[in-house]
Symmetry: C2
Subunit: 378 residues, 2 copies
């Protein structure tokens, strides 16, 4: 017979439910996956949510947090629709909330004067999720992991035509971790020093964005992986995702090593100039033409038959090399420049129809953004 009875601080419970809720799938063929599974046992509350590919486990344990106010009167398990559960816990009229099974899957939630009886799902109908920790692992500072994600994951593809490009490739040679994302029109690459075994895995960009949000309050995050799955672990939370299958393309040869021209320009002024002209689109793309003669003769323009045209003159910190006349997607260059962080950024060109790279500093080889030019007929 199903039993369960516990009491817990409303806000702490709600925060943990909000984390788990990220993995809830709203339209799964398995009805129980629209719920969050609650297990109370051995003085701990474990929340589980999954959309099959991504799963989250959040543990709440009084030992680690006095203000949790967790009191398990009767151990047990239930699955409750995530929408209803979040709504009840958020709005309950008291600091603590009581949760107990009345009959079968009918679950009682009580605050001070408000109470709810909600039909849940049987825990037996919830898929078994293997949260065992893979053996290869790396310990990150959250700040390092978070930067790494922000600097690369945006460049992954959003098209499902080549699923492996929807992820970020993490490749370790034992001492350096290289993180690469590309949608085949642009590429972002970041390297960090690590100590680990060698591996090469591709993690869905969505999982990385989830990790960046979920572990905001954690100082450290452990990443554990094998050839099938990856886990992010910290603060009593495990975020687990299947890896993307298929070989990740060899991208090293795409990145030019020699450059004929180099522009150093204020990061914000470049972002703003592109943003100003982004409403002028051709075939739904903002195609920007950059013409550089010298550091004080730079023009950025954009033209559309239908809408009109824009023109802006820019001043650079410096420019070395022959004049250049090159066109590119405004969105791609803007995304790339936004993912950098220094006051001035360095743009290195090899030719008008060759990929160019954008870096915080030409000397800093750990982070680069690459963009392919667009052919135009101006």
């Amino acid at each position: 017979m199903n039993e369960l009875n516990f009491r817990i601080n409303k806000n702490k419970f709600y925060n943990a439910l909000s984390v788990a809720n990220r993995a809830v799938s709203s339209n799964s063929p398995i009805p129980a996956l629209s719920g969050i599974r609650i297990d109370a046992a051995e003085g701990k509350l474990i929340l589980t949510a999954s959309d099959v590919n991504t799963s989250i486990k959040a543990e709440l344990c009084s030992d680690q947090d006095d203000s949790l106010g967790l009191n398990i009167i009767q151990e047990g398990s239930i699955v409750i629709d995530a929408k209803y559960l979040m709504d009840i816990v958020k709005k309950i009229d008291s600091e603590d909330i009581s949760v107990s099974i009345i009959d079968g899957t009918l679950t009682h939630f009580a605050g001070q004067k408000a109470e709810f009886k909600i039909n849940g799902y049987r825990p037996e109908d919830y898929p078994v999720i293997d949260f065992s920790e893979p053996s290869v692992n790396i310990d990150f500072k959250y700040s390092v992991l978070s930067s790494l994600i922000s600097e690369t994951a945006f460049a992954a593809s959003v098209k499902e035509t080549r699923p492996v490009l929807m992820g970020v490739n993490l490749k370790s040679d034992g001492s350096t971790l290289t993180c690469t994302a590309t949608d085949s029109y642009r590429l972002a690459r970041k390297t960090v020093s690590v100590e680990s075994e060698q591996f090469s895995v591709t993690v869905p960009a969505r999982t990385l964005f989830d990790a960046r949000s979920i572990f905001q309050d954690s100082e450290d995050v452990r990443v554990a992986l094998n050839q099938k799955k990856i886990q992010f672990i910290g603060n009593g939370i495990v975020l687990q995702s299947n890896l993307l299958e298929g070989g990740y393309p060899e991208t090293d040869r795409l990145i030019p090593k020699e450059f004929s021209r180099r522009l150093v320009i204020n990061r914000l002024s470049l972002i703003q100039a592109i943003d100003r002209t982004s409403f002028i689109k051709t075939d739904n793309m903002t195609i920007i033409r950059l013409q550089i003669n010298s550091s004080d003769d730079i023009s950025l323009s954009n033209k559309s038959q239908e809408i009109g045209e824009s023109h802006e003159s820019l001043n650079a910190v410096s420019y070395e090399g022959e004049p250049i006349d090159i066109s590119f997607s405004g969105t791609y260059v803007s995304d790339a420049v936004k993912a950098l962080s220094s006051e001035n950024v360095t743009v290195s060109f090899t030719g008008e129809m060759k990929p160019f790279i954008i870096q915080n500093d030409a000397e800093d080889k750990t982070l680069l953004q690459l963009v392919l030019p667009v052919r135009t007929y101006n």
Copy 2:
């Protein structure tokens, strides 16, 4: 030949464009209506936008505002797509923006280093809009007009099946203005003292919400009307709308005058209790059952076959009359109570299947909210 050349403060221009933009229609059969018309003449800039039913005119005049920085070098007119115009003016790289016609409808916008050439529409292709002021008028304090709108317009219908119910009926007997909105399941009525001719007109609720937003910074707003249209006038802005056609239903007889039971209850606690249970829906409606035996024996409950049920006990300030067991739409009662403003609200009942009214205070006859009960088979 088309000419135009002026300079104006970017922020002031943008704010006026934002007001006008509310009337721009994104999918009009008349292409020019996707634009905002700009007329520069006699030291003034006039912005016009319209979706045929609703039109807005905003005048910018240096005489009234030094910081406007308006300098008209060449009088003239142009129509520019509202989206592009808003985007350019918002992001231009200088405090002032220059606007001039280069050739035909090709219009030049210039900041400091950024410039745009945008294809506009010919002013001759923009419909002529008659902004002549109707003769019947009432001067309102903005605060009075704004309350009147917030207290009634939400109760208008959103269904197009009976267009006249999508408006608020304004009826003046010469000394009292009665504002009524109903979707035939609920009704809101507010009366204010006025001095005016007698009239009865029905104004689209959307126009009233626009007026509430547009004139936020105006102390006074003049309302002018005839049998065809209504205008809201203040701060150099005219918001004009066609009235809804068709006789407004006679609603006086719907409002009960005698009551057998009266509940006085804390406004916020009632709103919160309804909000807590609003996720429990039957046929997409939150149907709440209120059972009152005495001021300290009140229960609010909600039940759905599929989801489950809620129960909450409430304390009232007072209750007079026989016990009652009544069901209603939680949304309707919540909307009505939110439109009131006193700490405690009074709910007056005549019977379990009769409309009930909710007021700030039973003695205050100027504002009432009426809701029809729902028949249930609990």
